[in-house]
């Protein structure tokens, strides 16, 4: 059996794409969740409209449109959009998640330097010299430019040893 990515579907099809059905299901479920939660928030109070009224209407729109979209898909399946480069998506998202996770611990300069080196040297295949120069400019340079030029404080390391050397 061949593994076919849901992100790379052919344009013409007899049945709705699995990714499209997943999307419709997700929006429909979100609509229903919002509808139920809105009732709990209160649709009407003695003073007038409650906090749940507007979300209730939006939940109803979301749920109803999901149903209409599903019916449209069953009648005439549409082609899902072009597929993304999975490798790129995983590399960018995972590296961003790691960066966000260590930003406060290692500080902006070190974590951003490592992030940029990963994207420039390892993923981008740039030379060591250009990777180092851009990595340092984007981490140490940006830190000083924002901190002292724009008065925008970027995080410093929570590790005392790193903090002591200015990172």
């Amino acid at each position: 059996m061949t593994m076919k990515s849901t992100l790379t579907q052919a344009p013409a099809r007899a049945r709705p794409a699995r990714s499209v059905l997943t999307g419709i299901g997700a929006f429909g479920a979100l609509g229903v969740y919002v509808l139920i939660s809105s009732v709990d928030l209160g649709l009407w109070t003695s003073l007038g409209p409650g906090p749940g009224l507007f979300p209730f209407a939006m939940g109803a729109v979301l749920a109803a449109m999901s149903v209409v979209w599903l019916l449209q898909e069953l009648k005439k399946p549409s082609a899902a959009g072009e597929g993304a480069d999975r490798g790129l998506v995983i590399a960018v998202v995972v590296s961003l998640l790691v960066l966000a996770a260590v930003l406060d611990l290692l500080g902006f300069q070190l974590s951003m330097f490592l992030f940029l080196m990963y994207h420039l040297k390892i993923r981008g295949g740039r030379s060591w010299l250009s990777s180092l120069l851009i990595g340092l400019a984007g981490s140490v340079g940006a830190f000083y430019a924002f901190n002292y030029g724009l008065n925008v404080a970027l995080p410093v390391s929570a590790i005392p040893a790193l903090n002591l050397i200015g990172l």
């Binding site: 507007f54 939940g59 998202v93 961003l96 960066l99």
Partner: protein, 500 residues
């Protein structure tokens, strides 16, 4: 006379060296964003909002406005030289712009585009000056029901014009409204959709959402392909158009100004629609219409003038009524709100000095862009020679800084990543992003006006129909939403607007 005095005061404020510097930096950054294929004006402006958070409100908005209309100029360069639009509203320019490049007339195409943009932008700004007072005063007469109805019309237009499917556009709009509702309810003070997280009590950060949905998702959807394209910038001498080219451009510039200005006032119309309709107008009215598509200068002059006139005219509904006419203007409105300025009639009463300084800076910005764009075309094209991995890494760097510095919290970086993935999914499902950004900004205002209206009427929904202005506006909104049922089809090209 009052208006003239206030405008002169605005010039005095806009011409201080700090504000001139902000306008200059905004023009530079905007041109760079426009030149870079892939980073649109919405993501570009959102990305740079954090840079302006620590500036004074006037300086901040001056810089962001300059970034906004700078993108319109920058987008032309790649359309003409590379056959690749830097941003959506320059897409139509590729047809004749690139054909002119192949004929060795790239330089004059760029010059005429810049001059046309300058004229269109300046005339639209004069329109803003003329309309500011009367529309602002009219706006003061608008109560919560009318305001709600006005926003219904704006959102209906955007939904109707966004993408191929109204169902998907409505989903996008509903999503934006739901995201805007996360946090403390503005009237009752109850937490909504916060999932018990204290961080969400203030709502989801607007900038983090926009940067994620528009910027990060754009990077995530990059394809494997060729590295930087080879671009040859035209020499300085070739930048001068011939007398014949000037003569042929003049009527196209005039028509483009009219089309762009008129459509810029209509909520939901994007710059791409203006440039497209300007091209259609050239096809119909130009003396040289048979040459269009083969390198006719009218095909560059008209659309490029129209998209810039549109960009400046689209500020009129924002300044006078508080209604953003396009996604980029919605992001600008978000920046206004972050600076404590509420666009609309009260802007001219409560922050008159700031409002007029911004308007004056629009004239200055247009001059700066004319001076920057034509002579420095070689510099702008060199940006295109920067390898893709370096550009991607630097854009990601700015995204992280932008998301972090909104609240100085890593949480917002995670929010940006989450919304980047949502944006990727929406792009894959071909759900337009424009209605979402508009409702994201308008959501809280719309909800407040709805609830205020219902409180005034003691829960009677007929308040929207018993007041003439709101009744007409609600009817217009319904007509727009129901137009597909009435088989009022829009032109095919409008359904493929990537900006929408």
């Amino acid at each position: 006379m009052d208006t003239l005095n206030e405008l002169l005061n605005g010039f005095a404020a806009a011409l201080t060296w700090q504000n001139l510097l902000f306008a200059f930096l905004g023009c530079l950054l905007g041109t760079v964003i426009g030149v870079l294929p892939g980073v649109g004006p919405v993501a570009g402006v959102a990305l740079l909002i954090p840079l302006t958070l620590n500036l004074d409100p006037a300086g901040s908005i001056i810089m962001l406005c300059a970034i906004f209309y700078g993108t319109q100029y920058g987008g032309t360069i790649t359309s003409v030289l590379l056959n690749t639009p830097g941003e959506a509203s320059s897409a139509i320019t590729t047809i004749d712009g690139y054909a002119m490049t192949k004929l060795g007339r790239a330089g004059s195409a760029l010059t005429i585009a810049a001059v046309g943009s300058f004229i269109g932008g300046s005339i639209a700004t004069i329109g803003l000056v003329a309309a500011a007072k009367p529309l602002g005063e009219l706006g003061l007469l608008v109560g919560p029901p009318e305001f709600f109805a006005l926003m219904v019309v704006g959102i209906s237009l955007l939904v109707a014009l966004a993408g191929k499917s109204m169902v998907k556009a409505l989903i996008s709009g509903a999503l934006g409204l739901l995201i805007s509702m996360v946090g403390i309810d503005p009237v009752a003070g109850a937490p909504r959709f916060t999932f018990g997280m204290d961080r969400l009590l203030d709502g989801v950060s607007f900038v983090a959402v926009i940067v994620g949905v528009f910027g990060l998702s754009e990077i995530l959807s990059y394809r494997k392909g060729a590295d930087a394209p080879l671009v040859h910038a035209p020499g300085f001498r070739s930048l001068l158009p011939t007398r014949m080219e000037w003569r042929r451009s003049a009527p196209a510039i005039a028509r483009g100004t009219g089309v762009g200005f008129g459509l810029g006032l209509v909520p939901g119309m994007t710059g791409s629609v203006s440039s497209l309709l300007s091209y259609v107008a050239e096809k119909k009215f130009s003396r040289h219409r048979h040459e269009l598509g083969k390198g006719a200068v009218e095909g560059v002059a008209g659309p490029e003038t129209a998209n810039n006139a549109h960009a400046n005219a689209a500020l009129i509904p924002l300044f006078t009524l508080g209604i953003p006419a396009s996604p980029t203007i919605a992001v600008l409105m978000g920046a206004f709100l972050q600076q404590g300025l509420t666009p609309g009639p009260s802007l001219f009463t409560e922050h008159s000095d700031i409002a007029w300084a911004i308007i004056a800076s629009l004239f200055i910005g247009n001059v700066l862009l004319l001076l920057l764009n034509v002579p420095l075309v070689g510099l702008w094209t060199s940006i295109l020679r920067v390898p893709a991995p370096i550009l991607t890494a630097l854009i990601l760097l700015f995204m992280v800084i932008g998301a972090y510095t909104i609240n100085f919290s890593v949480f917002d970086v995670f929010v940006m990543i989450g919304f980047g993935l949502l944006g990727l999914a929406l792009r894959h499902l071909e759900i337009p992003l424009a209605p979402m950004v508009l409702t994201l900004v308008l959501g809280p205002l719309m909800e407040r006006s709805l609830r205020e209206s219902l409180e005034i009427s003691q829960g009677d929904f007929s308040v929207f129909l018993s007041r003439p202005i709101s009744a007409v506006l609600i009817a217009v909104g319904l007509l727009i939403i129901c137009s597909p049922l009435l088989k009022l089809r829009k032109p095919k090209a409008l359904t493929e607007d990537p900006e929408a």
